[in-house]
Symmetry: C2
Subunit: 446 residues, 2 copies
Amino acid sequence: MSIQLNINNAGLRAHELEFVRPQVEAAFKTVTEKSGAGHEMLGWLDLPETYDREEFARIKAAAKRIQAQSKVLVAIGIGGSYLGARAGLEFVKGPFGNQLGEKGVEVYFAGSNLSSDYLQNIFDVIGERDFSVNVISKSGTTTEPAVAFRFFKEKLEAKYGKEGSKERIYVTTDAKKGALRGLAVAEGYETFVVPDNIGGRFSCLSAVGLLPMAAGGMDIDQVMQGCADACKAYANPDLMSNDAMKYAATRFIMLMKGKKVEILASYEPSLTMFGEWYKQLMAESEGKDNKGIFPVSANFTTDLHSIGQFIQDGSRMLFETVLWVKNAKHELKVPHDPANVDGLNFASGVPVAEINEKAMKGTLLAHVDGGTPNLLITIDRLDDYGFGELCYFFWKSLAISGYMIGVNPFNQPGVEAYKKNMFALLGKPGYEDAKGALEERLKSLS
Amino acid sequence: MSIQLNINNAGLRAHELEFVRPQVEAAFKTVTEKSGAGHEMLGWLDLPETYDREEFARIKAAAKRIQAQSKVLVAIGIGGSYLGARAGLEFVKGPFGNQLGEKGVEVYFAGSNLSSDYLQNIFDVIGERDFSVNVISKSGTTTEPAVAFRFFKEKLEAKYGKEGSKERIYVTTDAKKGALRGLAVAEGYETFVVPDNIGGRFSCLSAVGLLPMAAGGMDIDQVMQGCADACKAYANPDLMSNDAMKYAATRFIMLMKGKKVEILASYEPSLTMFGEWYKQLMAESEGKDNKGIFPVSANFTTDLHSIGQFIQDGSRMLFETVLWVKNAKHELKVPHDPANVDGLNFASGVPVAEINEKAMKGTLLAHVDGGTPNLLITIDRLDDYGFGELCYFFWKSLAISGYMIGVNPFNQPGVEAYKKNMFALLGKPGYEDAKGALEERLKSLS
């Protein structure tokens, strides 16, 4: 275990954690006893023990086959079928992983938006190179991935023929039913399972996330080991020695004090997509029934020259959770300049990572002084193991804090609203009734 | 002019705009008469008329020289010396502009963080290729760019020799004083000016942003034309026919209603960095004296499967400003599938851009129904002209809304707080007194 939580700068009075202990412990029990709303979606809770070893071996074999047959994997999915794998790959390989070509294939993501320019960009980036496709969708009918898959299937068949393309299409979908399952069986594509009892935002360590991560060169044994260790550590029912509980409790206290926006701030661009993953997990789990802490992510020191001013001195409704990585991968020391033009010689020879650390610590104190409470999560390094650990930490903590505010942390009914309107406007069969009224309202836009 | 603002779905009652008219007009006058706090930083107000034509020609010539001598330009800067150029390049070239190599050199940004892993990534991406550097810093002593410049200067000199490197270093700094000005004069680097009367977040259409944009292949004549047209359009003092005023007025009304978070949502990944630029502009201008609307950006439909749930049904403190691009660059029509496996044949042959539009319109109505008011900004297309226009629209609007809430929109005193602590912790001369007390407080982190 490498995750550490420090809440000494959250501004809590001595009794505050103790006073919410009954609430946190009740929520913890609701999770572990699977007695709360949405409990049928708690498959992630003991995932490291229960996951399908046979499928896991097939994922690793498929990843090797993709690496042998292609330069590029196009992972087609949206929401939880997109964010986890991308967050993991950038966590480990950095934001330029695809350009540096260190290990694994290049992985590009499609089907997570409806921009034709973006889609064309992905076509152009692939160019004439060999590619494979992993289409990830529980139902196979979600619009964004379905549209993208039509294009890529057509391209694969044009390039490799109907038969050849079958070797290059990997399907992650429902175990038994659904459009994509049916197609995969009919065509003989290799398939993997989107579990029934794990929601999208908790699914990145199922086949949903594991196949693109493995194809991109991640060590998914290590990922699962990190997840397993976190699973053990956060099974501890004692608030004071379980950081996942303590993080949930502290977030709850922040919310009670009117801090309705949480900023997850990191000091590594490699964590940008992890911030996006965190935003989905938090927003979809808590943001319902007109409740919830609104999740935001930031990348420091970059964003200290952007939203930093607001965090320091703007409207006081924020708290900050810093995700700090203790060990940088590369040691680079500030070069010495005899002329000292920039006045920086006081830092000559100092590792850049050490300056980053002083920036983090100085910023933390400055923001606390400005009235933005701080929570600090420290991890050892950006590696496969750490990614698995951290996912579980946030899942468990979030499940607890969702129950604390009295919502079902495992559904996302609000995501349907835009889809229904879009289907009606597009004339999808079954949605005809709503179309006229929507079009009438859209006159307000012209 | 191609920008259109539609506030019909902001939920305003008929009298509301009229009732804030005196406040908006007063703020507008404070801007145009340069009578308010920070008025000495209003150099951007008539920039399209007053900019230095001789320098502009030199910027274009330098961009051509960079394109002839290098494959890569490293632009070194932070905050306003980083975000504008990057936002512009992605606005026009898309998120994969560097990989597609369509026009101009590849532009990578450094000196906007203190991550040694990121820095090493940039070194690796450049590899053995020819590169030039544009270092952008008013003082030349800001830590992040100063650290990065030491590394790249050393690398240039190692690769091209002391003399050769002089041809590849372009300096954008204060016109007369400062460390970087001194160095540039001593070494004979070509220099460009960071204007005295334009703050960082308003500087992207000065040399600060124009040189990287031009080197990366943008048509900066068109950028300035868009800016000039917007400058004329938004000089109109009538609230009802000036969209920049109307946007400021509507944001003010939203804030008065308790909507303290604004989400700038686009439907094009090419606008991701524009969202980052907007966040700096808003947060640094308004986020002070414990005031301000907290700015957030989102990319739809991607983030409809992330923060979408919260926008639809979470804590009701949000309003949404959609930045919609009317014309996609690429027309791609949904392929037909005779088997209709995914049930998507109702959309066969429909341009993806049209589905995107239906998604936007359906989402807009769904979010309004959920209690998130909507503002809609429409632009024609993602081109150089549109970028120039849009920057001016937001500058002008923000200046007005800053004065409406009673802050100086043009300073950012809060950005100094973290720097002071960081300098003290690093032992920078002049900051010795603060060090002991900070280190004492940092014991709370161990």
